[in-house]
Symmetry: C2
Subunit: 230 residues, 2 copies
């Protein structure tokens, strides 16, 4: 039986851009687990109520209901130890934590400002009032005044990605010669930008761009084939 | 027999501030290996010629001569596998690489601009012409016009340290509950700033500050007891 995941969708149900859901999609593919990703909208809180909270990804594996991409990764390794590992040992856990915080504070923090209006424009109409209200409360200003330009985002990302760029000049994946959870974790932020926005944030001569290309090709080009909003 | 390391010293031979040498000092302490750190100046190239290159750290372990902090760490784990490990497994290696590039591009890149004149003022007189010439060739401008103010450095570091700050809000050390190579790697950049400059770059309420305090206390307060230039 395949796993099922509630996955944030845009107005177009085929457009999937949640960075956290992308981590789980890639992680399941890594472990060779079939995953059915069910379109979910911000307003569909009651559908995932069984998970005890209101955000996706929510993964359903038989009677097992899980949320939070990090917990899902740890759980997948525990439940499927015979399949390729995502996070291994104490230092693997530290790598995953570092990658997660790097993705969040260095990449997604900039990306959020860069694509916030794209998100607003591409989510389902029924989600817009909720999205605007919850995000404006969090950021303390209007979506419009929080947003930054494509050029400004490129400049900020260029600086923020410096450690990743240096690392990827030396090795093919964050995890080393082959990808694992740390890669999927960071890649989620890039899939967020890719699938919700038509803007381009990386130069083609950037080693991070080349890594993203490799990631798009993984698991039979699963991410590359995914639909973009625009 | 104790290990010996050539260690960059200031005009005051007791002042040691090389970030790479600090990594090795901490790594040896981690493994419970006694280390004699011998004062070395930039002009003493011939003293370390047997290592086949011109930079410290150079570690001498019996007939074994090693340079490059990363290679030294890998070698120490191989030569002393029964002692506490520094880098473990494929993901531990990836963690170490990520931490090294983070230290270099996010921390030391800012720190270099912040303390470059402190370095110039605190190195041995015989090293000054070499230091100015080699560094000005590398940076393409005078040391004076490359330097940034303490305030500017604090602002830049505050941003650059975001991933580390978020990580250290969750766990005591980069490596997890206990420190290992990734911590020593990043800590080296902070010891560079601490021992060559009287400026303060971290706020006391920063989780990175609290981590640095824990690092200063490790191994019987070895780093805390080290002499500062000013």
């Amino acid at each position: 039986m395949s796993l099922r995941m509630y996955d944030l969708a845009g107005a177009d149900p085929e457009v999937r851009f949640s960075p956290y859901c992308w981590r789980v999609r890639m992680a399941c593919a890594h472990k060779g687990l079939e995953l059915e990703a069910i379109a979910w909208r911000f307003s569909d809180k009651e559908i995932i109520a069984a998970s005890g909270q209101g955000a996706v990804p929510v993964l359903i594996d038989g009677a097992h209901i899980l949320h939070d991409s990090w917990k899902i990764a740890v759980d997948l390794d525990q439940r499927y130890p015979e399949r390729p590992v995502l996070i291994e040992g104490e230092q693997g856990r530290a790598l995953a934590s570092f990658a997660r915080h790097f993705a969040q504070t260095a990449i997604s923090a900039v990306a959020f400002k860069a694509v916030i209006l794209d998100i607003y424009n591409n989510i389902h109409e029924k989600d817009r009032a909720y999205f605007r209200k919850s995000r404006e409360e969090r950021i303390g200003k209007s979506l419009e005044s929080f947003a930054i330009s494509e050029d400004e985002a490129r400049v900020q990302l260029r600086i923020a990605l410096s450690p990743l760029r240096a690392l990827l000049q030396e090795q093919s994946f964050i995890n080393g010669a082959k990808p694992a959870w740390a890669d999927y974790c960071v890649f989620g932020s890039f899939m967020w930008m890719r699938n919700v926005s038509s803007k381009t944030f990386l130069s083609e001569d950037d080693p991070v761009f080349a890594w993203r290309e490799r990631m798009l090709d993984l698991h039979h080009g699963m991410a590359r084939q995914s639909k973009r909003a625009v």
